[in-house]
């Protein structure tokens, strides 16, 4: 199983699933922060829009359907929703065009978390008082642990996300590999690096070896990026987080350490906690690798990239989107 949306696409684009079909079945796990954002969280952001709060977000989240539409639709109807690339742009934008209140929907895994930490220290150092963070950051290792602890789990090995590992290093994966006695291979993104990682995975599976092999050693250091880890540890502790389709995973979130932080959106809008909703899309089964996108009864008909029902079809890195895009190549 790979747990990185960029790997999902690369494996399909390079046709590697097919190449390895007779050796290993490659399945996609919860590898994209957009795909694992719960419907309740989208509904909460839409609620904030309705209250006249400005929302800043990374692009793909705009298209994820909540119970009553998407952020993009809200924007078309006049709500103040702004798409950003670099979190620090928000400070510039707020200076140029101040808002009464603004919330940044901070989604992301370990790769993105340090950037949000960077934004938080900039907010704290500036005199800005009306910019809050709705913290949806998540940690990958606890999600892997949950998947592998499932008694029905049929995953034999893990292809680890190269850029998450760039930040956290090899050690968190090593612990998991020891606990579950399965091979973990950290993979890069070029065709060559992916083939290298898959070959290594196959070899480890056949010989029954567990442990971590770093097949992206040009970039991933054993200890990750110490400066980024230090910043994360200073600002955040572990907290439970809700993953779409997987439910609440203990210690998989990044709680702000200072509880009464003025930048925590939940502190400013406590009513958000009361909003909770459920959707029909069986993405959870897809994310756990138990259902292939093509086996979903909505796939391609009621649910397609033009009219997605679930986030796996929305995000350009989602498994359903990738399966839809490359379906011809798969079927021929």
């Amino acid at each position: 199983m790979e747990v990185c949306g960029t790997h999902t696409h690369a494996l399909m684009q390079y046709g590697l699933r097919e190449v390895y079909r007779n050796k290993m079945k490659l399945i996609s796990g919860p590898g994209c922060p957009v795909c694992v954002t719960s419907q309740s969280d989208v509904d909460r952001l839409i609620y904030l829009c309705d209250q006249g709060v400005r929302i800043y977000t990374f692009g793909d989240l705009m298209k994820v359907p909540g119970s009553f539409g998407t952020l993009r639709e809200k924007k078309a109807l006049g709500a103040d929703v702004r798409e950003i690339y670099n979190p620090l742009e928000i400070i510039e934008d707020m200076k140029k065009d101040p808002a009464e209140a603004a919330v940044f929907a901070a989604i992301g895994f370990e790769t993105t978390a340090p950037l949000v930490a960077g934004l938080i220290s900039e907010i704290e150092n500036s005199s800005m008082k009306n910019l809050y963070i709705y913290n949806l950051l998540k940690r990958i290792p606890p999600a892997i642990e949950t998947l592998l602890s499932d008694p029905d789990c049929a995953i034999d090995g893990l292809l680890c996300p190269g850029h998450v590992a760039t930040i956290i290093g090899e050690l968190p994966f090593k612990r998991l590999s020891e606990k579950f006695k399965k091979p973990f291979v950290i993979a890069g993104f070029t065709r060559e690096l992916l083939v290298f990682a898959l070959e290594k995975m196959y070899e480890m599976l056949v010989t029954g070896v567990s442990g971590v092999f770093n097949a992206y050693y040009s970039t991933v250091m054993r200890t990750g990026n110490p400066l980024a880890i230090e910043t994360l540890e200073e600002l955040f502790g572990a907290s439970d987080a809700e993953w779409r389709g997987l439910g609440i995973i203990p210690n998989s979130g990044y709680a702000l350490k200072s509880e009464d932080s003025v930048i925590n959106a939940l502190q400013i809008y406590p009513e958000l906690c009361k909003i909770s909703s459920k959707d029909q899309c069986p993405c959870g089964q897809v994310l756990k690798g138990k259902l292939d996108p093509e086996e979903c009864k909505f796939f391609g008909i009621a649910c397609n990239p033009e009219r997605p029902m679930g986030p796996c079809m929305v995000s350009s890195e989602g498994s359903c989107h990738a399966a839809f895009l490359y379906r011809k190549e798969i079927n021929t």
């Binding site: 993105t112 850029h163 760039t166 970039t219 400066l227």
Partner: protein, 74 residues
């Protein structure tokens, strides 16, 4: 969403740096790179350098980025 591209640093100014790729210049943040300096290649994710890389891997990553980024629109 964790896509990252390698860029070459051409100027450093505190936490900020100017980086370039194929003549296109971009302001990035280098607070997570120990002693970032002119000439370093760094892997950049959403405007922040997250790791220093050597020239060869920068080229490799760039190749993959071009192929994938075209589709992912990033």
């Amino acid at each position: 969403m964790c896509l990252a591209v390698p860029l070459k640093i051409i100027e450093v100014n505190g936490n900020k740096a100017l980086a370039e790729k194929a003549g296109v210049k971009l302001e990035i943040d280098v607070r997570f790179i120990n002693k970032a300096k002119k000439g370093d290649y760094v892997l950049v994710h959403a405007g922040f350098a997250i790791q220093r890389v050597d020239v060869d891997s920068a080229r490799e990553i760039e190749k993959a980025g071009k192929r994938l980024g075209k589709y992912l629109g990033k």
